[in-house]
Amino acid sequence: MILNIKDQFDEEKGRWLIELEGEADVYTVNNFKERMHQLLDEKMADVEIDGTSLQYIDSIGLGALIGLRGRMADQEKVLIIKNIQPNVRKLLNITGLDKIFIIEQED
């Protein structure tokens, strides 16, 4: 299984736009963490993750998001997660992370 990560810096909004496609689990998470930290090293800014094509996440993937948010919060930046699938949403709800991350749904 794979997790594809597309990144782009939106100059207008001043934030990273990240599209995730695939599965965020114990195997794919290291690559994701590495990539995100590289991007933040390059430019520390808000991050908007589009989860339209994120099919799966578990505690390891959620842990990576928590770690990322921690680093960004120190710099007063925010992590926004949008367009997530119902199964991903459910995990955010039961872990209470829906109150920690900024979640946006577009219909």
Binding site: M1, E23, D25, V26, Y27, Y56, D58, S59, I60, L62, G63, A64, I66, G67, R69, P86, N87, K90, L91, I94, T95, G96, L97, I100
Partner: protein, 151 residues
């Protein structure tokens, strides 16, 4: 992987219809195999999509624990899927040092940290969860079940 079409055993009046066994290396790249196997079995049993998603996450969390607390790269852990009349029971056994699950704290959801959510997620998503440390304090065995057609 092996299937078994005959009634395997009676245990507390529980009729085990089929057993499917998987033995996986202690390596992250194979956890998706456990998820795929689970999806096949659960959809065959008639679980709905939401329940299958719950089961996938619970199995992956247990596999991740087995890998983390297991005996190292050259060892395997095993998963047994027990198809019962009205539920799916999953047993995951690793040969690791084990951990004192009684000391595993409930996560503080207001102060998220990177680890410690796995067991909490399993307990939330499954109907029954039991955890045992194997004899001689070596290895952990987790047994979890989800009932068919409750949600």
């Amino acid at each position: 992987m092996k299937g078994n079409n005959t009634i395997y055993k009676e245990e507390n009046n529980v009729e085990v219809r089929d057993i499917i066994s998987l033995n996986l290396p202690n390596a992250p790249e194979y956890v998706s195999i456990a998820r795929l196997t689970l999806s096949g079995i659960a959809s065959r049993m008639g679980f709905n999509i939401e329940d299958i998603e719950d089961l996938k996450v619970a199995v992956a969390e247990a596999c991740t624990n087995a890998i983390k607390h297991g005996c190292g790269k050259d060892r395997n852990y095993s998963i047994e899927f027990l198809v019962l009349k009205d539920k799916l029971r999953i047993e995951i056994i690793d040969g690791g040092k084990g951990f004192d699950y009684k000391k595993v704290k409930e996560p503080d959801l207001t102060k998220p940290r990177e680890g410690g959510l796995g067991l909490y997620i399993i307990k939330t998503l499954m109907d029954e969860v039991q955890i045992f440390n194997n004899q001689k304090n070596c290895g952990t065995r987790i047994i979890m079940s989800k009932n068919l057609g409750e949600s």
